[in-house]
Symmetry: C2
């Protein structure tokens, strides 16, 4: 194990400045601030310099200098992550390498259905470039106005369309990566079939900047759906929601783009804190499903499909009441309810313990019940906020105790609620981080819940690609 | 680099026999023969023993013995590969580890849409188990009656449904793997979202048995389509076929399951050699497209969709003539034509140089023209057999010279035709092995066409996971 520099020396920063020019290096404290704290203000670190290369050659030159001088690097995209993976440590020994200037869409090929973009390209810009070419890039998440595709790739971002289109990992055909020793792996290929050796891109996707710095990617494009249909349905319980999903799959096959399960209490926080929001259905119900279908062709035909499925569901009493969006504005209003839940949660004064978990889809209702029972047994006043991507088996299963406030450090540091939830997830063979990754915040959980063989394999790969441990030390492993 | 045993000693074989029992080891020459030659009779090797473990624990025990005694191992599935990857070397220093006894479907979970099977399970059995649960496992290829899922995974098999469902890599959620040191990585998980560390399964998928021995896999299932519609269309040239594909995508979105381009000469070999086959269309045409749509719901509605798309295509003169299958039998007859081409090729006396290539979809027509021109310039008598998965950018672009016969060793060993084709593929940024992998047969091409950085990354990964070089030495790298 090499000793990393405890601070980055002036001579190293000067070498970097030679490589990227003065416009590529920030050192004044006021300039550094946005890069050393995460967007939620939870993680704060220190750095001697934020480096902002203009292109891949500059990234490589910087990495080479860092390799030669044993200077650790924290890669950063849009700084919208949930686990502090792109924030430097408090010690100040790393430089931050921000990809933001490398924000171009390099190529759109509608016949091949690919789009190539630099890693600092904002996700919304990629979505727009695809739309301009009458195509769809289906990755869609709340932060899309500021997150960058390099960060999406490094965290294998999920989002609302995973049910139909998969995770970011499933949307990538090729990568360009700067390796920890400064060499460039030029793996940008728009081929859907290529069995010429190991598939190296999957090492870097989801590695949270610990194995290489992604500098560009070739992404898959899809046909742009001409028709959408959205429905908001009240259901009796998660079991009914699950049967509803199976019914809709039988009727609508893979036209289903999203299938979200939402508890009433999650919505109460929205109606309480977010102006202009209201219950789409008159009577209160304990659980809701928001679903969307998309297709080529006729919107009225798609709507008729949805209505037929809904009618069957009502007859079988899987759905108690429902609203179908009459137009795009109404659909947006329904999605606004779902998308506002995190903001509603944020405005609540309680310390909300958040868990981004996944179990096998069929076990979601059982999991919800068992976790609730375990929490209530241990914390009789617990309140649950439960919503998420039922079709993927991914729930945001959050909990709070009314007498533990966010402003209270002891409440923030407590692990007891989280341990209760994660231990049950583990028993179910599930994931304690379905979407958000490990970063800094879940390093302890990784060590606790992963098998020794798996941890060892990960360390083997890390040590092989980054023997000096330069990339994002302290994150993930 | 460790010296491998040049022959496997009797004491090692005895230790292995202790681990798997006498029923798990074959040593008699007559018993070994099917395992030491590939199904086409092209590659023949030698081994002292074929080991046939009954379960993962036995695989691990054998691998442990091999690690301790520095005995190299050649993993083998159904022995249906195209590149000799699962055949032992002529030298006789490796044991063959055949997975065939581990052939059970372990679990089918229709709600979670997953199926878990041992690596030796025959693909057709997995398809049937999925069908029995009213689901679809969409991997489908010619060898499905005898290939095993472990082999499909190790070669990232493609098949006819890649256009809609992706390669084998896209169909896997988890793996169980025995590592070169005998430890077991238990990564069988049926989760669609799990961002807890590096995605290790992708190292082993497509690694052709050189990084670990896959012992089980959790696979994705899909809704079983209720409706199919198949059409055989005559087109003017590959450009027209490409525009036809774009048109059909606009009309039918992702209902298109397959889109195959076929040259007339490919079919002439079928009509000549395969009894009971004939031209579905009266007049001769230079190129054809075979397409299939699949969907939930009504077959007449799907057929109407196809007819509408076809009518537009005829009006735009993208299609010159066409036949839509009236029923399942007619559809099967059309597919039989396409699937018989390899057999038609095999029965031709000429030495056919086969190239399984991929380029960006939009460049396929250009590639076909340029490769033909280059071949005709160098070999004036060349004949081309061109057919494949246009929608994936993957062509079987084969060529022969009438005076070079398969029976002639010099004809078989010649590289000139292949080099001409692959050099053009390289210029197009394409793949010289879209589906079939590297194995033994394309090791030289890998060294020639891959970038030094990429080759080095592959060797780094290989050395990290298999430092003694025990798994499938001489294959891939």
């Amino acid at each position: 194990m090499n000793d990393h520099t405890t601070t980055v020396s002036a001579s190293v920063i000067e070498k970097i400045r030679q490589a990227v020019g003065p416009q590529g290096v920030l050192t004044a404290a006021a300039d550094l601030d946005p890069y050393v704290v995460d967007w939620r203000g939870v993680y704060r670190g220190t750095t001697a310099a934020v480096v902002r290369p203009a292109n891949t050659a500059e990234v490589a030159a910087v990495m080479k200098i860092c390799a030669e001088t044993c200077t650790p690097v924290v890669p950063q995209g849009g700084n919208t992550g949930m686990c502090g993976a792109s924030i430097p440590s408090a010690g100040g020994g790393e430089i931050v390498l921000a990809l933001a200037r490398m924000n171009r869409v390099l190529e759109v090929d509608p016949l091949n259905n690919t789009l190539t973009a630099e890693a600092g390209c904002v996700l919304a810009a990629i979505q727009q470039a695809a739309a301009d070419a009458d195509r769809l890039f289906p990755l869609s998440l709340g932060a899309e106005g500021s997150c960058q595709i390099g960060g999406n790739l490094s965290t294998n971002a999920g989002g609302i369309n995973v049910l139909r289109y998969g995770n970011t990992r499933d949307l990538v055909l090729g990568l360009e990566v700067v390796l920890p020793d400064g060499r460039i792996w030029k793996g940008l290929r728009g081929l859907r079939k290529d069995n010429t050796g190991y598939d190296l891109k999957h090492l870097f996707i989801g590695a949270e900047g610990t194995l290489g710095i992604i500098t560009a990617a070739t992404l898959k494009l899809f046909p742009r759906p001409a028709a959408n249909a959205t429905a908001w349905m009240a259901v009796r319980d998660p079991e009914a929601a699950l049967q509803l999903l199976a019914l809709m799959r039988r009727h609508c096959n893979d036209r289903i783009t999203a299938f979200e399960l939402i508890s009433r209490h999650s919505l109460e926080l929205v109606w309480q804190h977010i102006p202009g929001t209201r219950d789409p259905i008159g009577e209160p119900h304990p659980w809701y499903v928001l679903t969307e279908l998309a297709d080529a062709g006729d919107e009225s035909a798609l709507r008729a499909d949805l209505e037929r499925a809904l009618e069957t569901a009502l007859n079988k009493e899987l759905v108690v009441d429902a609203v179908i969006a009459e137009n795009h504005t109404q659909a947006q209003a329904l999605w606004h309810l779902r998308e506002s839940i995190p903001e509603g949660v944020r405005q609540a004064p309680a310390m909300v313990y958040r868990h981004d978990i996944a179990v096998a889809v069929g076990r979601i209702p059982e999991f919800i019940r068992e976790a609730q029972a375990a929490l209530e047994a241990r914390f009789p006043d617990v309140q649950l906020i439960c919503f998420g991507h039922l079709g993927d088996g991914n729930l945001h299963y959050n909990a709070y105790l009314p007498d533990r406030l966010r402003s209270d450090a002891a409440a923030r540091d407590a692990h007891d609620v989280t341990e209760t939830v994660y231990d049950i997830v583990q028993q179910y063979g599930g994931s304690f981080s379905a979407e958000h990754g490990i970063g800094l915040s879940k390093v302890a959980e990784l060590a606790r819940y992963k098998s020794p063989v798996e941890l060892d394999l990960m360390r083997t790969v890390k040590h092989a690609l980054d023997p000096q441990g330069l990339l994002n030390p302290g994150k993930v492993l």
